[in-house]
């Protein structure tokens, strides 16, 4: 190895030493080629962010082991909402959402797919996996911040909302024990980012569920889930 190569690349050769080395480079194509090969590396090292020299510790991986999925709600077995025993679901809010949707207002609970809100920094992140047969190649994540009382859900690859249909987010234990979190529509891109308030403690539920709902005025779960994430206790 030519020791002066590093001196030259690092700018530590001056005056006649540098001239002599450059003459050597002119006579030795292999040495010149090696200098040219290494020069861009020196340039990149010189411009490297100082923080890149001290990479931070990586946070732990999020929990990914799937738990037993919560039972899918079966719409036909559900009692009408006005006859149901006491459940956690805020019936009035859900009913109001449907009314708003029917009126085409939708600005309250209906969340546009392109206008996401700020993420819930510091929350727990869970993966939303597709539920067959409707989930297809869809995926998503939800950041659940019990402290802030909200969840931010990012979904990708969902079929765009058909006319009148909408997607609904749920905290779910069983078909009779579930809470609606809000509704949203998915644009042509198939992607949507929504933030919804959490009216109940998410740790008390087995899953976060996304269903597709028809505009039939029925506030019950349609039994047509597309995405679901198991909710392990934080």
């Amino acid at each position: 190895m030519n020791e002066r190569l590093s001196d030259y690349l690092l700018g530590e050769l001056e005056g006649t030493d540098r001239e002599r080395f450059e003459a050597e480079l002119a006579r030795d194509p292999a040495l010149a080629a090696e200098a040219e090969r290494l020069r861009p590396v020196v340039t990149r090292l010189e411009s490297l962010d100082r923080s890149a020299w001290e990479l931070p510790e990586a946070p732990a991986l999020p929990p990914i082991t799937p738990r037993e999925p919560a039972a899918a709600p079966e719409r036909e077995r559900r009692p009408a909402w006005w006859r149901r025993a006491l459940v956690v679901r805020p019936l009035a809010a859900a009913t109001l959402a449907v009314v708003l949707l029917a009126l085409g207002v939708g600005a309250g609970l209906l969340l546009g797919g392109d206008g996401g809100d700020d993420g819930a920094a510091g929350g727990r992140v869970v993966a939303l996996d597709p539920v067959e047969p409707l989930g297809g190649a869809a995926s998503g994540t939800a950041t659940i911040s019990a402290k802030d009382g909200r969840a931010t859900v990012n979904v990708r690859g969902l079929p765009p909302s058909a006319k009148g249909d909408f997607y609904e987010l749920w905290l779910l234990n069983t078909p009779d024990d579930l809470v609606s979190l809000g509704s949203f529509r998915v644009p042509a891109s198939g992607d949507a980012d929504v933030t919804v308030p959490l009216p109940a403690n998410p740790d008390a539920f087995a899953a976060l569920d996304v269903s597709v709902e028809p505009p039939d005025g029925n506030p019950a779960h349609s039994s047509r889930s597309v995405l679901r994430a198991p909710l392990a206790p934080a």
């Binding site: 993420g119 920094a121 510091g122």
Partner: protein, 192 residues
Amino acid sequence: MAAVPAVRSPSPAERRLADGLGRRDEAALGDLHALCGRTVMGFLVRTLGNRATAEDVFQQVFLEAWQRGPTYDPGRASPLTWIMAIARSRAIDQLRKRVPEPRDPAGSLALLEGEGRGDAVVDELIERWRFAHLLGQLPEQEADVLRRRFYAGATQTEIADSTGMPLGTVKMRMVQGLGRLRDMLDAEERGA
């Protein structure tokens, strides 16, 4: 003419990682985390300018890697290139949905001022962090002389004085380290 997809020759370790991700083997995700986690986190902290937000996005990135694992093809991209592409997308998503607020201009990117330029800045950062990742793969002796020269700003003579290494050894390790970095860069860029 249609672009021909880049084809690279993955290492046996990369093939094992891809096989594990394809089987949804949790250990494979752990390997990916061990290999690239610090680089991804460094990039996200620098890009988003906030550690808590970076941690949220970090988790989204690895969850997405878990979900998309079966589609990962090591013949098309190294694990680093693949996970950094996911990190890039999620970082840009996060920056675009962020509500503008007063912030330390040195602490985060003013990407909202121009989205096109913002993407370019993120791409530049991706390149820097990919390079930083390669630096972390160097043998310690070579990484040490490079760090002393390019991070601490010492000359080769000063490195020899402070470490007790012969000056010739410092120079040899410097050139070896630069050469190895160049080889790794070439290998990465063939598959990028």
